[in-house]
């Protein structure tokens, strides 16, 4: 049951991309709902018929397993130490997508050694031909492990909340990605908004500071793209508390609708 078999899809006849699109989900500040967004986005993409793998790239402090309420026997740790094959470590998750979990044994890999770099590069290259999407749930902050994990992905999605600390840390992340990773567009999801339109305000505010302080050192200006805004209603709080995917527990909620919209925008 551990075998990596692509889920049955509604769009079997659709031309598949030969390599997965890779998207890193990051946040700057921790606790803003990064893993919540990643897991539910994966489910929303899977519901569209996409083959999705979520890679828990928050080595050392991974909690995708907690969010999904699954307890894997085989993790990335076993792949790193050649105790298991990559195939065995790719597990089906609720929501119709697949996960590659870091597990708590990866503390020793929270330092970015050449071995860790090499292993992760190998793993990404190996999974890309077999999925439509590879989502990397990265850690918070701008440590070298986080920056490296983000560097593995073609696209970046920054999760931010309207809180000043979250915005400041998201700005620091965006700045580093623009200057050190040659990123020219960065996607944004504003989570935990209180009213519609707040996401746009947060995005505009960040874009304004970017224009003033970051663009001057770039060959081309950086564009922040608002891809979604999610209001934290009761359904979100309940699904998190019950460790269920929002997309499964409350598919009709406004927040679930916002995540589906995010998935649709990414597939455009």
């Amino acid at each position: 049951m551990n075998k990596m078999t692509a889920p049955a899809t509604k769009t079997e006849s659709v031309d598949r991309r030969s390599l997965a699109r890779t998207l890193a989900v990051t946040s700057g500040k921790g606790g803003v709902g990064k893993t919540f967004v990643t897991a539910n986005l994966a489910a929303a993409l899977a519901a569209r018929g996409e083959r999705v793998l979520v890679l828990d790239a928050d080595l050392g402090l991974a909690n995708l397993d907690v969010v999904l309420n699954i307890h894997p026997k085989i993790t990335l740790h076993d792949v790193f130490t050649d105790k298991a094959t990559l195939e065995d470590a790719i597990l089906p998750a609720p929501g119709g997508f697949f996960v590659l979990l870091a597990g708590s044994g990866l503390v020793e890999y929270s330092r970015l050694t050449p071995e860790v770099r090499d292993k992760l590069l190998q793993i990404i290259d190996q999974v890309k031909p077999r999925f439509d999407w590879v989502l990397l749930d990265t850690g918070a902050g701008i440590s070298d492990v986080v920056l490296f994990a983000i560097s593995l992905a073609e696209q970046v999605l920054v999760v931010v909340t309207p809180e000043p600390t979250s915005m400041t840390d998201a700005y620091a992340t965006i700045k580093v990605l623009a200057t050190q990773q040659e990123r020219r567009t960065i996607g944004m999801v504003v989570n935990q908004i209180h009213g519609l339109g707040e996401g746009k305000t947060v995005r505009n505010q960040l874009q304004q500071v970017v224009q003033r302080f970051v663009d001057i050192s770039l060959p081309k200006p950086l564009k922040l793209e608002l891809l979604g805004e999610v209001r934290s209603d009761n359904s979100v709080r309940e699904s998190v508390r019950r460790r269920l995917l929002l997309m499964e527990a409350y598919p009709g909620s406004e927040a679930a609708q916002a995540i589906r919209l995010l998935a649709a925008k990414l597939c455009e």
Partner: protein, 246 residues
């Protein structure tokens, strides 16, 4: 993963070397002053030697003997990939001889060639044997320095600048020319699988800066500032919160 290793050919389909027309290749190597392989002509060893000699010839610049642009771009791409895996810092320097057109116009192209050769040699001596120095254009050079700590960037760029400025190129009897270069430099991006082209562009931007600031100098790309200043925070939470921008 498909197996793309070259399969050995079966005995019967082996090449008969006597059927190959190799005159042009031999002539080319002789003209370039390359030595022909020692092995018995038309033996497998000899053919391998010929292929190696041709590869070497096609990767070098005829005037200076430095690595040429094509080969340099390959070396740069390999370095980008290596940096992604190792996390080492690597420096790319691009250099351009100052006022070179004036040398050609005043003393002729033969004098220009002598200047280019002298600069090539000086640059080669200014860096480590593991570094790759290339002639990438008329009077343009580039050096890739693997495993070069960020703190050493200035030291090595200054050493190259200095060693070139010490040159006195004898272009005609009794006529010695002073020559200088401008240099630009950028470190390999450690946090992205970048491209050799983008890396070149970044170093070139610094080279243009060095030219604009008066030549005979180097400019290195500033290391990105990661901290968020009070001024940035101020704007982030400014009262202009509801202002519309594109």
């Amino acid at each position: 993963m498909p197996n793309i290793a070259v399969q050995p050919t079966s005995r019967n389909s082996q090449i008969d070397a006597s059927e190959l027309r190799l005159d042009a290749a031999v002539q080319l190597l002789q003209q370039a002053g390359a030595s022909l392989p020692d092995a018995a002509p038309l033996s497998v060893e000899w053919l391998q030697g010929m292929v190696d000699a041709l590869c070497d010839l096609s990767s070098r610049d005829a005037l200076t003997g430095l690595v040429n642009r094509r080969s340099f771009e390959m070396a740069l791409a390999r370095e980008v990939d290596r940096v992604a895996r190792s996390g080492d810092s690597a420096l790319l320097l691009t250099a351009d001889i100052d006022h070179f057109k004036a040398v050609n116009d005043t003393y002729g192209h033969a004098a220009g060639d002598l200047v280019i050769q002298a600069v090539a040699q000086a640059m080669n001596h200014a860096v480590r044997p593991m570094d790759t120095v290339a002639r990438v254009g008329g009077e343009e050079f580039a050096v890739v320095l693997p495993n070069c700590p960020i703190g050493f960037g200035k030291t090595v760029a200054e050493r190259v600048r200095h060693m070139v400025s010490e040159l006195s190129v004898n272009v005609a009897p009794g006529k010695h020319l002073k020559v200088t270069v401008s240099l630009g430099g950028a470190f390999a991006p450690q946090w992205v699988r970048s491209s050799a082209l983008l890396w070149m562009e970044r170093a070139d931007r610094q080279l243009y800066r060095a030219k604009a600031e008066g030549r005979d100098r180097f400019c290195l790309e500033h290391q990105a500032e990661c901290l968020v200043s009070a001024e940035e925070k101020g704007l982030l939470f400014a009262a202009s919160q509801f202002q519309e921008i594109e």
